[in-house]
């Protein structure tokens, strides 16, 4: 294992609806995250993720309690049916201060509500800023990267972008990578552009190039 493998992973997967974000996460990112042998918790808003289905925060807690307050490595899809489920699950991850990978689906929705944003700011900012010490990996999926919090975006090590057309999102991506912004607006379905510094083992992610989903 290289030193880089040990680092926490923090990435943003973005792009318009139906272009391949969730497919990319389930087919490519999750298998790589699982190799790290930590619990992988997806905040599964749309019932799209594999793994043990847990009904909201209470389902997660029930599972943990049944297992003597332990969570084994593996994939868990927490069906977040309310903002409370989302916030509480994140608070649990933050408070546990232990190695976990978390996938937050449709993250821009959470950031569109001022009060949820406030809650998230406290919790996610802490996960973002201090999570490195506890090896908390974080993958954010969003149709609108421009609507995510500045702190989250600034901490992202890598971006995987499927096609984007919204001007504000392209402008933001252009700040991070002028080349990316130029290519992203022209990507076909299932094509994606990666930039930043993806972790070792993520072989599907050739940086600063147009990649294609193989499946």
């Amino acid at each position: 294992m290289t030193a880089k493998n040990k680092q926490r992973i923090f990435g943003i997967v973005c792009g318009m609806s139906g272009k391949g974000k969730t497919h990319f996460i389930t087919e490519y990112l999750i298998p790589e995250l699982l190799k790290r042998q930590k619990p992988v918790i997806a905040l599964d808003l749309m019932d799209e993720y594999p793994g043990a289905p847990l009904q909201g925060f209470s389902g997660l807690v029930e599972h943990i309690r049944k297992n003597d307050n332990r969570l084994d490595s593996g994939m868990y899809a927490v069906k977040t049916k309310s903002s409370k489920d989302t916030i509480n699950t994140l608070r649990l991850i933050r408070a546990a201060e232990q190695p976990v990978s978390v996938i937050i689906e449709e993250a821009h929705i959470l950031f569109s509500d001022p009060d949820i944003k406030k809650q998230l700011k406290n919790t996610l900012q802490e996960i973002t800023l201090y999570g490195r010490h506890y090896e908390i990996d974080c993958i954010l999926s969003s149709q609108r990267p421009n609507l995510l919090s500045t702190t989250m975006r600034s901490q992202a090590q890598f971006f995987v972008s499927f096609r984007q057309e919204e001007r504000a999102d392209l402008d933001y991506l252009a700040v991070r990578s002028p080349l990316a912004a130029e290519k992203i607006a022209t990507l076909a379905k299932k094509e994606f552009f990666t930039f930043g510094d993806p972790p070792d083992g993520f072989s599907e992610m050739k940086t600063d190039k147009i990649n294609q989903l193989k499946k």
């Binding site: 294992m1 493998n5 609806s17 190799k35 790290r36 042998q37 930590k38 619990p39 808003l45 749309m46 925060f57 807690v61 943990i64 309690r65 307050n69 332990r70 969570l71 084994d72 490595s73 977040t80 049916k81 309310s82 903002s83 409370k84 989302t86 916030i87 509480n88 608070r91 649990l92 408070a95 546990a96 232990q98 190695p99 976990v100 449709e106 929705i109 569109s112 509500d113 001022p114 009060d115 949820i116 406030k118 809650q119 149709q143």
Partner: protein, 129 residues
């Protein structure tokens, strides 16, 4: 090579703290309803902007800037009627789909006709149709 399998331990006190603490923004139903309404308005507004852009890109007549507020209000009425209790389970795509299911080009034409009819006497009689 993979890492050693990790199991994490979550103390009961951590779980209880989270279970027992009710964050300020969901203490009562009324403020939550207001917040959900704000989110519906925002989501519908974003969804409709996207629809308008799409229509115009396809060379179809969308709506003008001065009509946006009224069209959004219409969208909010539709979304509130169709959306289940918890808005947060819905992505803008679903709201968009729900909105589109009712706000069709015909509805927009009907809306315009209604607005034209509401104009004071002496205004134009021309219908867009």
């Amino acid at each position: 090579m993979t890492d050693k399998k990790k199991t994490i331990h979550i103390p009961e006190s951590v779980i209880k703290d989270i279970e027992n603490e009710t964050p300020a923004n969901y203490t009562t139903d009324a403020p939550k309803a207001e917040k959900e309404r704000e989110l519906i308005i925002k989501s519908v507004s974003v969804a409709l902007d996207n629809v308008n852009d799409l229509l115009k890109k396809k060379g179809l007549p969308g709506w003008d800037e001065d009509e946006t507020d009224s069209i959004t209000k219409l969208g909010v009425i539709v979304a509130e009627k169709h959306l289940p209790d918890d808005i947060f389970t819905h992505t803008p795509e679903i709201i968009l789909a729900l909105t589109l299911s009712s706000i069709t080009v015909e509805n927009i034409s009907a809306y315009r006709e209604l607005q034209t009819a509401k104009k004071p006497a002496g205004g134009e009689n021309d219908s867009e149709k």
